[in-house]
């Protein structure tokens, strides 16, 4: 009787997570994290910002769903795309939403993108010793209406830049973006670090091309890409299909 109860308890307190990719570690035990894969990209323009993420959610070598959105609208002018462990991502999104509501009650206005960027950084560092397994890209319009992109690591270190990518396809996409968007050399003056010269439709086309390329070689990226465009008119959404293999 007692051993049955103990067995039941151990099942409750040590649930099996979805299988991770096969490894050969002896004595591997339960991990609080899992990686659901996926890639996020953002590009900031003079008066727009494009944020995109693929829609595949995977675990190990399996696909959980082909149609999952990694993009979250936090404010009217600010959108968060996150790859990594989607349970942590969801929790982080809810946390930011609650904090944004409080801000709106106190200040009678929405948070600006730079303010949200700092809040996200603080929220991530708050869990420095049990981090959100979430690789974030925040995009939107700053207080002057110019596009801004902020890129993060899992514990909140962040930087404003003109473009960024995070996730499993990061290493495939980033060099392409560098090639297309980065100015010749950091020594060239004036330094252009916050914006790209591309037009909105050029940026969207570039994103579609980069995702199609990443989906070729990165097994965790594919199925579809969700593209969100923020400009002074508002927020617009586009989707594009990707290879499903």
């Amino acid at each position: 009787m007692r051993s049955w109860k103990l067995a039941k308890m151990s099942m409750v307190f040590a649930p099996r997570l979805a299988e991770s990719a096969p490894t050969s570690h002896v004595g591997a035990s339960w991990s609080p994290y899992d990686n659901n894969g996926g890639t996020c990209v953002a590009i900031a323009g003079a008066d727009y910002c494009v944020i995109a993420a693929d829609t595949r959610m995977s675990t190990g070598f399996s696909i959980l769903t082909r149609d999952y959105s990694k993009i979250h609208h936090i404010t009217e002018k600010c959108v968060l795309a996150s790859s990594g462990f989607q349970a942590d991502v969801r929790s982080l999104q809810k946390n930011l939403d609650a904090r944004h509501q409080i801000y709106q009650h106190q200040h009678s206005k929405q948070m600006s993108c730079p303010a949200m960027a700092q809040l996200l950084s603080n929220t991530l560092y708050y869990k420095r010793f049990f981090p959100y397994y979430s690789f974030n890209v925040l995009g939107g319009l700053d207080n002057e209406g110019k596009g801004c992109v902020y890129t993060y690591d899992a514990v909140g270190s962040y930087e404003r830049s003109g473009y960024s990518s995070q996730g499993s396809g990061q290493t495939l996409i980033m060099p392409v973006l560098d090639n297309q968007l980065k100015s010749a050399s950091p020594l060239v003056l004036p330094p252009r670090e916050s914006s790209t010269p591309l037009t909105e439709s050029e940026a969207v086309d570039l994103i579609k091309d980069t995702f199609a390329s990443a989906a070729e070689r990165d097994i965790y990226t594919g199925d579809g890409v969700e593209i969100v465009i923020i400009n002074k008119e508002g927020i617009r959404r586009e989707t594009m299909a990707l290879k499903r293999d």
């Binding site: 946390n95 509501q101 106190q106 200040h107 929405q110």
Partner: protein, 282 residues
Amino acid sequence: MFRNQYDTDVTTWSPAGRLHQVEYAMEAVKQGSAAIGLRSKTHVVLAAVNKASSELSSHQKKLFKIDNHIGIAMAGLTADGRVLSRYMRSECINHKFVYESPLPVGRLVVQVADKAQVCTQRSWKRPYGVGLLVAGLDETGPHLYQNCPSGNYFEFHAFAIGSRSQAAKTYLERKFESFMDCSKEELVRHALHAVKESLQEEELSSANCGVAIVGVGEPFVILDSKTLQAYIESLEGAKDDQATKIEVEEERNPAVIERQDVSGGGGVGVGAEGEGPSDMET
């Protein structure tokens, strides 16, 4: 009467079985300037008389947004009201975080009532000196509740609290049966008529009253002074004309609280400044 002997502590009963401190707290509500609420099948409207203590100061905020689907009007010690509204906001946010759905109005009202009751049974506390009219929308439709300092709560079709509220209540009692089928514009006009009764001699204008609406498909919004003035003007032109529709540009920005005539740019809630340090009660 024995009233003065048994009214020092909130925890002391009088021989007549009353808690005088609680009743004095309700008196504070009656001293505040009027707040009015009324509802239809689809909307709830709150209106408040804004009293400025002098021409130099701004008037007290009496209408607060609690969540997209709930708002309150208060009468009495507005400082107590601000504290309660902070609590209500926090409860709504926590509920939405855990359950990913809006907190039903009735539940929030009960939580506030229980909080108020605690202050009637602790010798080191005092009752809240503010009465709330809670307007909200949930799955069961639009609701209007009143919260008392005593810890009681009631649901109403229409009600008014604060000073000279009896005049407004008389108007509401006369007209309430027609409220259920009113359109939004008609409901706001009824609310403004009720406010007019409370104001009596004074001229109704967007400077001395405030209106807020919540309804099916419409998040809680406090009308800005331009829209409000348009409604007030329509009162004169369409006293008995039910069919008059009004063309208004309400700023439908659900995430932002709209303020009217607040000088000094004070924020809502924590650290709110800009309101003069004059009367506690409005």
